[in-house]
């Protein structure tokens, strides 16, 4: 929790948030596309996808395109909800920071008075 705003630790991570953002925009994305778009190593991407899959936020389908093995990833309903909640939480945090009263300027010392 940060500043009264609830954050989901699964989604509150730069790469996982970006993965969900890509998947929300597309009906499905291939492993290679996610890797090149997010500039991640295969191992790193696999780890993030595993975390998201275990949380029920993405569904992974393995298949073939001709003889080429392909892994397609889709966002689930829970994943969409988690992404929206995270984006709302981040925006709320930004608003809270903007609403903070600005610090009062220090009282001027005698020396400053002409």
């Amino acid at each position: 929790m940060s500043g009264g705003v609830q954050l989901d630790e699964v989604v509150h991570q730069r790469n996982r948030l970006a993965i969900l953002a890509v998947l929300e925009e597309a009906s499905k994305a291939e492993f290679g596309f996610l890797q090149s778009t997010l500039e991640l190593t295969p191992g790193n991407l696999s780890r993030h996808l595993e975390i998201l899959e275990n949380a029920g936020y993405v569904a992974i389908e393995k298949g073939y395109s001709g003889r080429r093995p392909r892994t397609w990833v889709r966002i689930t309903k829970a994943g969409r909800a988690a992404l929206r909640a995270e984006v709302t939480a981040l925006r709320t945090m930004l608003r809270q920071v903007d609403d903070l009263p600005t610090a009062r300027p220090k009282a001027r010392s005698k020396d400053d008075v002409a």
């Binding site: 730069r14 970006a18 953002a21 890509v22 984006v87 920071v97």
Partner: protein
Amino acid sequence: MRSETAKDLLAEADRARSKARAGRRGAWFALVVFGAFVLAAAPLYIAREVVTYADGSSSWVSGGWWVSLYWLIAVPLGYLACVRYYRRHAERTGVAGTVWPWVVTGLVLFVLMALVPPGVFEGWIPAFAMGWTSLPLFALAGGFLVLAWLERSPYLAVFSLVLFVLPEVCARIYDPYLGWRGFSAVGFSMIVAGIALLCAGALAWMSEGRAR
């Protein structure tokens, strides 16, 4: 958490989202396919007769069963070609978008416009039985508006609205000023709309290529 971090996370998500959007766009193909079909339909609108109205003005009237047959084949074929293209595009780029709402809207509008008469005064005779007017263009424009929403493309949305008003604008220009012998205002609309669709398709192709 610092506000810069929240801002960075949101910016990163937006960047990822726009890359996915750019990757899945493929409207250029749909614009070119339907542009070619619309342009190819123009010769079918060669007028059969001149109708003189009560106020003394006259216009060329076109249409016939062959026009109906053409659209009944061309529209489903066009959507089929586009669905196949979007599938291949997804295989190639690794990112897929949903196009079914566009296809369903386009086909439903097409069927509705085939069954609804083009004008109240002409009686309740279905458009397909009257040899069509500019109705296929309205059905295409409605479909493209849905595709614009699916692809989050303001450019395509504006173009769809232009396509909606194009037949009316063409009719207003054609009959009093041009009125080529043996050619109807609908045929003229088809030529203008076909060229507009092809040009929009070429522009979309260049812009989608640049974005990728």
